[in-house]
């Protein structure tokens, strides 16, 4: 320890203080959201390795099996030699009874599963076609990832270009682009998407197109606002004086100044894109079946709920919620870190 000139010796931090300091630093980081998001990304990228079963094929004999921890339901049934259809709920034939209990005799009452027990073979159970819910949830991450990456890249680029043009040129171009934004807000895009899907058929590309139409105005508006501020900066005037082309000024000098904001907007928009994609899938206008998408899985399980089969709808919904929630939390953190001016941004 270095001697202090004033004669005051500062005690080295104790282990507990060090731990507390580390904890204080860690607490500010969005550890949980980042962890959950990386889970989703890993699930999407390595789906074929991670998924325990084929997500698109199932055994009908293994349909509606509950999650592993579920005990199933048993009923007392009378063993009979032959039964008519209306005795199904109360009786069981001898040959079936022998499969469960080799000692069964006619006239006995034995316990029969009316709903099978969960098994470790299907951790989150199976759906109405006997497909493994866990595998489908894992594969579902692929669709969400793919759709959000493509949509962000395309829709974001369109929005940024429009925003740069509107902010830089102003006047008629600005007015026209901003009116486009207003009009977009007034159109029920989900309905338009549904019409497109019905007329042109279900495909991934229609969804991506519609989602791009949906998100570009957000980027355009944000970038336009930034450009309006940046274009009066001295360094922009200097670039102009030294003869830089408009394109060079826009993309080399102004665009980098908007990147912080763009990252924040993009993170928060991904959540919205995932929600919209799953909504379209839920309404039957998403990726064509049997490809597993989270939204269509929720829809698959919807009419099975009344029979107590809750796991088909629940797990994909949880996946959507966890992903979007992590994106929101991570986006909030990014915003506070990169660009606190955006506080009002919702």
């Amino acid at each position: 320890m270095a001697a202090n000139l004033s004669g005051i010796v500062i005690a080295p931090p104790t282990g507990r203080e060090k731990a507390a300091a580390i904890y204080r630093k860690l607490r500010r980081l969005p550890l949980l959201p980042v962890f959950l998001l990386s889970l989703v990304v890993v699930a999407g990228v390595f789906a074929p390795i991670l998924a325990p079963h084929d997500p698109e094929k199932g055994e009908l004999r293994e349909r509606n099996i509950p999650p592993a921890w579920s005990g199933g339901e048993k009923d007392q049934k009378l063993v009979v030699e032959r039964m008519s259809i209306n005795e199904r709920t109360t009786s069981v034939t001898l040959s079936d009874a022998l499969k469960v209990n080799p000692d069964a005799k006619i006239g006995d009452t034995i316990d029969i599963f009316t709903r099978p027990e969960g098994s470790t073979k299907f951790l989150l159970g199976t759906d109405h076609l006997g497909r493994d819910v866990l595998s489908r949830v894992i594969y579902g991450a692929r669709i969400s990832l793919l759709v959000s990456i493509v949509t962000l890249a395309v829709g974001g680029s369109i929005g940024v270009t429009m925003g740069l043009a509107a902010g830089w040129y102003g006047g008629v171009i600005d007015e026209f682009l901003m009116r486009l934004v207003d009009i977009k807000l007034a159109i029920p895009l989900i309905l338009i998407a549904l019409v497109l899907v019905i007329t042109l058929g279900q495909s991934l590309w229609i969804i991506v197109t519609v989602l791009c139409l949906f998100i570009w105005p957000r980027f355009a508006r944000q970038v336009r606002g930034e450009v309006l501020q940046l274009k009066h900066m001295d360094y922009v005037s200097l670039a102009k004086v030294s003869g830089a082309s408009t394109a060079r000024i826009l993309f080399i000098h102004i665009f980098p100044g908007t990147i912080n904001t763009l990252i924040v907007v993009a993170t928060l928009q991904v959540g919205i894109v995932i929600l919209l994609e799953s909504t379209l899938s839920f309404l039957g206008a998403g990726v064509p079946p049997p490809t597993p998408a989270w939204g269509s899985m929720v829809s698959d399980g919807r009419d099975k709920l009344a029979g107590g089969v809750w796991w088909i709808s629940t797990f994909p919904g949880v996946a959507i919620m966890v992903t979007v929630m992590s994106l929101n939390l991570f986006g909030d953190w990014l915003r506070d870190t990169l660009d606190p001016r955006l506080r009002q941004l919702e």
Binding site: P188, L191, G308, M321, N328
Partner: protein, 305 residues
Amino acid sequence: MQKYLVRRFLLAFVTLLSVSLIIFIMSRVSGDPRHIYLDDYSTQEDWDRMGEVLGLDKPYYEQYGMFLKGAVKGDFGESVREARPVVDVVLERAPATLLLGSVAFSFSILVGVPLGILSAVKRGTFMDNFGKFIALIGQSAPPFWLGIMLMFLFAVKLGMVPPYGKQDWNSIILPAVTLGWYYAAANLRLVRSAMLDVLDSEYIKLARAKGVNSRTIILKHAFRNALIPPLTFAGVTLGALVTGSLVVETVFAWPGLGRLAIEALFAFDYPLLQGVVITFTLLYVTAAFVVDVLYAYVDPRIRYA
């Protein structure tokens, strides 16, 4: 103010016009409408006569003109599925959607605004965390899934409310909560951050220094100014509630416009679908117009911008 009103009105008009154009183009791209009206047993003569009646023999711009002329008069043609005027079907379904929308909107205000104030005033306490939790769920859970889960819990398991349809008064609770939750969350966040900003301002500090009691400060001085952001948001909310009704009405089999749109869609009933889309747009544009005008009235800074 007058200039602003005219500008705003023109904008609403342009929006409606562009939506009608989009719908017209889509209806023509989707194929010859005669395929929907006529069946396999109709003759070439029927086909031609139908074309004349619908104006399909004229150039596209004239067809669009006819479409617009009809639309202004409230004539969107006949629904194929129901074999009666589209307007009648739409008007029959509209009240259910308006009811659901207004209950959901009230829910979002009644839950979002007080929770937002409490979260800001009692910042960092249990109340604040509870508010954050409500907001997070609302902004992250997909409404269709939230609806299904609420239905499973409160209707199937607990049997407290009817699972679907529009029967008793209590059948509106689940759809309205599902629809309103997202906006309650948004209002909560908006009011909270606006409240925090206002509470930090000089005039609140002055009021505190003068010894005004904190209830008066919160309700009279801070709250009024914190209402501006949610008011702006209300315009957006009203419009988006319309889209939300598509999903929620489908989940809860609520007999409104949203479900009508989905039904029309899967029955290939284009005239009906056009009518619904135009109605939705009209609702949104009107709501946004009213909110903007109110807003400009409340906040003079907008008028002269």
